[in-house]
């Protein structure tokens, strides 16, 4: 069975982002870009499903500018078999991305779509759930364990206060939480091999999908910064301050 893994190119998690002076967005010029960390976990899980003989093919998909090809090459270096880039310079929002992925799902007929639970740039946490809804499929968001048997998957999900385990009919969408696995590093031979793997490029227009944004960003700003307070020299002084100055205990 095929596993589809959507991957997003985002500002690297180590970069301290800066808001543009005119408040129109975040400065991404000359900033290090990487694969969204949750998507890396999703790629790893898909590759493990293939290594376990459950999946037959792992297809990585990305949506965005031409440079997303680098992200797809990374996915292939980690073990994805081939890649598809839906190339556009337009602003993308989760609903539009879910619709584009739906078009790819209809063409490729994967049994599982494995994606990251959220992207660390817009922190939306929506695309996987939206794709599942558009396909009429089951979903298992925030997965910490995935087992596939026949036409069903058993997924342990992280929820407030603990975990829950659900059984979902395939095809389905699974979104990866932080501790689903620890992604491997791409080795040099695999990075070289990834350069020869197939990478198809399509456009939203060719897929017949309207990607017009539904939300307008009016303003982007740096939130008010919290000022540093004072240093205390002992536990006793701390307790005194918390009691008499801050009055929180």
């Amino acid at each position: 069975m095929k596993v589809l893994v959507p991957v997003k190119r985002v500002v690297d998690y180590n970069v301290k982002v800066r808001v543009k002076a005119d408040g129109s967005g975040v400065d991404t010029a000359n900033v290090k870009m990487s694969m969204n960390p949750f998507d890396e976990i999703a790629v790893e899980e898909a590759v493990r499903l293939k290594e376990a003989g459950v999946a037959t093919e792992v297809i990585a998909v990305s949506v965005g500018v031409v440079n997303c090809q680098e992200t797809l090459r990374t996915a292939m270096a980690l073990g994805a078999d081939r890649a598809i880039l839906i190339q556009t310079d337009a602003e993308l929002q989760p609903l539009a991305v879910a619709k584009l992925l739906k078009a790819i799902c209809q063409k490729e007929q994967p049994q599982i779509v494995l994606c990251g639970k959220q992207a660390i740039d817009d922190d939306a946490n929506q695309t996987g759930q939206m794709l599942a809804a558009l396909m009429g499929w089951a979903q298992a968001a925030f997965a910490s364990k995935v087992a596939v048997a026949g036409n069903k998957a058993t997924v342990t999900r992280e929820i407030d206060g603990g975990t829950e385990t659900v059984e979902i009919a395939l095809p389905a969408v699974v979104t990866a939480d932080l501790r689903l696995n620890e992604p491997r590093y791409a080795t040099l031979p695999n990075i070289m091999k990834a350069k020869k793997k197939s990478l198809d490029v399509v456009t939203p227009e060719a897929l017949g999908v309207d990607i017009t944004p539904r939300l307008r960003t009016l303003k982007v700003a740096e939130p008010p910064k919290r000022a540093a307070g004072i240093k205390v020299s002992s536990a006793a002084e701390l307790v005194e301050k918390l009691k008499n100055e801050a009055r929180v205990i």
């Binding site: 982002v17 809804a133 659900v166 539904r214």
Partner: protein, 309 residues
């Protein structure tokens, strides 16, 4: 305007996050209807009817809503969406699981974890791990929102809403719950606790985490939390994680022990009223946002603090 708030509950009791969502709905303004969908959840609907500001409680009681799985709930909410200008839930794991699915069925955008209501169609939310505050305006006929509970106070009691029973939608039947494993604890819930004691990598081991932080938390009646590094190292369970991808907390008092203060962690606690940081590294970034910093060896400081309380 008419606003539908999705109540979160376990068929026996209403989750307090619902009260924060009702306050966000009141700030938007309009008739507030509360949907209580579950199995054998009549008592929850009765409680919900007493929330201040709720005009009507919509009760849907059917076996296939008993475990609150998103496939069935989303179909129900989408079928009942007509006439509402806004559909809200708290940005809990349940709300985050459900609401994008509802929005996609309605072919509208979803706006995640709003922290402010500017106008009925314009909202504030954080992006980039809390480093960027974004104001977005929706052009959709229905606004589907999740709300960050720490940004809106809980609604009070005093309402006398009507409870109306609605017919369930058909069972979609693509998923089923096998079981839940909830961490049982006598401590307050992390997301709503007044005091949070949070431990990081500096504690060195799970044994130290428990031995040092539990007595302190007991003295303060505090919930326990952990940084990503501490959870990754197995000091504490996954659902203790505070930060961008874990829980967002805003207690009266937040005590960070052995936490350096990575931006991803700060994103989850920077709205706390008073922040205390205990760390042996005077250059740790956590001190830049702490109201009270104590530079020292946590193995000496924490027991001394516990004893002094």
């Amino acid at each position: 305007m008419s606003i539908l708030v999705i109540a979160e509950h376990d068929n026996a009791a209403l989750k307090s996050a619902t009260l924060n969502a009702v306050t966000a709905a009141a700030q938007i303004g309009g008739d507030i209807h509360l949907l209580v969908a579950g199995a054998g959840c009549g008592a929850v609907a009765e409680t919900a009817a007493t929330i201040d500001g709720v005009a009507k409680v919509l009760l849907v009681d059917a076996p296939h809503y008993g475990n609150h799985l998103p496939e069935n709930l989303a179909v129900l909410v989408a079928a009942r969406a007509q006439g509402f200008t806004h559909i809200l839930s708290a940005a809990t794991t349940a709300g985050k699981n459900l609401m994008p699915r509802v929005a996609a069925l309605l072919d509208v955008a979803q706006i995640s974890e709003i922290v402010g209501v500017k106008t009925p169609d314009t909202f504030d939310r954080f992006t980039y791990a809390g480093n960027v505050l974004t104001t977005v305006q929706s052009a959709d006929p229905v606004k589907v929102l999740t709300i960050r509970t720490t940004a809106f106070p809980a609604a009070g009691e005093g309402g006398h809403a009507l409870v109306e029973t609605l017919e369930p939608a058909a069972d979609v039947g693509v998923s089923r719950l096998i079981g839940r494993e909830l961490t049982s604890s006598s401590r307050p819930e992390l997301a709503t606790a007044k005091v949070v004691v949070c431990g990081g990598r500096g504690l060195g081991s799970g044994e130290n985490y428990h031995a040092l932080l539990e007595p302190l938390a007991d003295k303060l009646g505090a919930a326990l939390g952990a940084s990503r590094a501490a959870v990754d190292s197995g000091f504490a369970p996954n659902d203790y994680q505070v930060g961008q991808t874990g829980k967002v907390v805003a207690p009266e008092l937040y005590i960070a022990v052995g936490i350096s203060g990575a931006i991803q962690h700060v994103a989850g606690m920077q709205d706390s009223r008073v922040i205390v940081a205990i760390n042996k590294d005077p250059e740790a970034p956590i001190f830049q946002i702490a109201d009270y910093g104590l530079v020292g060896d946590l193995f000496d400081v924490v027991p001394a603090l516990t004893a002094a309380l």
